[in-house]
Symmetry: C2
Amino acid sequence: MPAVTLYELAGADPGLRFSPYCWRSRLALAHKGLAATTVAWHYHEREALSFSGQDRVPVLIDGETIVADSWAIAVYLDKHYPERPQLFGGDPGAVRFINTWTDSVLHPALLRVVLLDIYAVIDARDRDYFRSSRERRYGASLEAYCADRAAHLAGLTTVLVPLETLLAQQPYLAGDRPAYADYIVAGTFQWIRCIGGPPLGTPGGPVEVWWQRMLDAFDGLLRRAPARHRAAA
Amino acid sequence: MPAVTLYELAGADPGLRFSPYCWRSRLALAHKGLAATTVAWHYHEREALSFSGQDRVPVLIDGETIVADSWAIAVYLDKHYPERPQLFGGDPGAVRFINTWTDSVLHPALLRVVLLDIYAVIDARDRDYFRSSRERRYGASLEAYCADRAAHLAGLTTVLVPLETLLAQQPYLAGDRPAYADYIVAGTFQWIRCIGGPPLGTPGGPVEVWWQRMLDAFDGLLRRAPARHRAAA
């Protein structure tokens, strides 16, 4: 078994790992059957990542190889461990649309609902950075950005329509069995769960049914992970 | 070469084939290198499809086999002609998200811009059906539904963000080479082109650059097809 290390974003509680991108990598490692040592990392610990030549997590260390970025990590794992279960089952190209949709549509819609929940779980030493960088990005205070939470929460139903539609047609995003397509979105749902955000998907609908299955996957890897509140899911 | 027939939605001009779903199938056939006889079909010709047990196009006839629905046709072609270039290059599962996103997000956004353009190209005998079915679906007259066209047109920029993002990272939706993931969205762009709708994608941006390549694919199959106006693209 190779010695693999994964650097993950952590909250004030170092056991609270909430980054959607880091969860993508953790699920990818589980899918490949690779045990990994995870290392808690906080926004203010930039120097701790200097070995990777950049300043964001996840970062994977696999022997002599260092890979940053969740997408690059997934592609690396399939290429480097082709004999283990495939994350992509073919060309990763089309799966990447799920990645870009999640990052550019789903995450912005969610952030209007949960930005203050993230702020609540991060380390005290990360708060100034988090507040100032986000307030610059959005041109509004965190509180103003998340005002009218009820409307943004209601809007999520529309955002999730393509997922509800897909999962009414097949049990997993990847088809009959879960694969990286599922881990992209599951990472996002786990992020929301870990920071104590709202349940996602129409109650009893295809997305919620899928999410319950994902919570159970890999011996309950997601369900067992520390979360801010006991998730309703 | 097998004898393949494809029933396609046509306008008042039977040469004007504008259905996005039919274009998906036409591009899939081109990708597989299968020559097909296409048959013009209009909404009022339901009986002409009774052999297929349903009332929508595309319908593919391949020898003794009849396949309706663009997604089913693509899956059938890859399964039945595995020795020809693959449309999915693996499990079709994850590609289907592009299908559901296109149908449930991109098409509704486009219809607010082009519904009257469709009405303008369909056969006179189809107009009562088209108007009444759409006005029932949307709870508004065609004209009211498409009012404020400028705002809906401007909103398309946001809708296309995940595509712009993906195509800034790789040349085709499917990755390095075009495949069914591309034909799903190209069918939509061709639909808009054929009915004389607006150009799509940021001028000079990744989506527009991709679309120009798709127009050139298969010896200009899309570019040479009859359209309501000479498309600016």
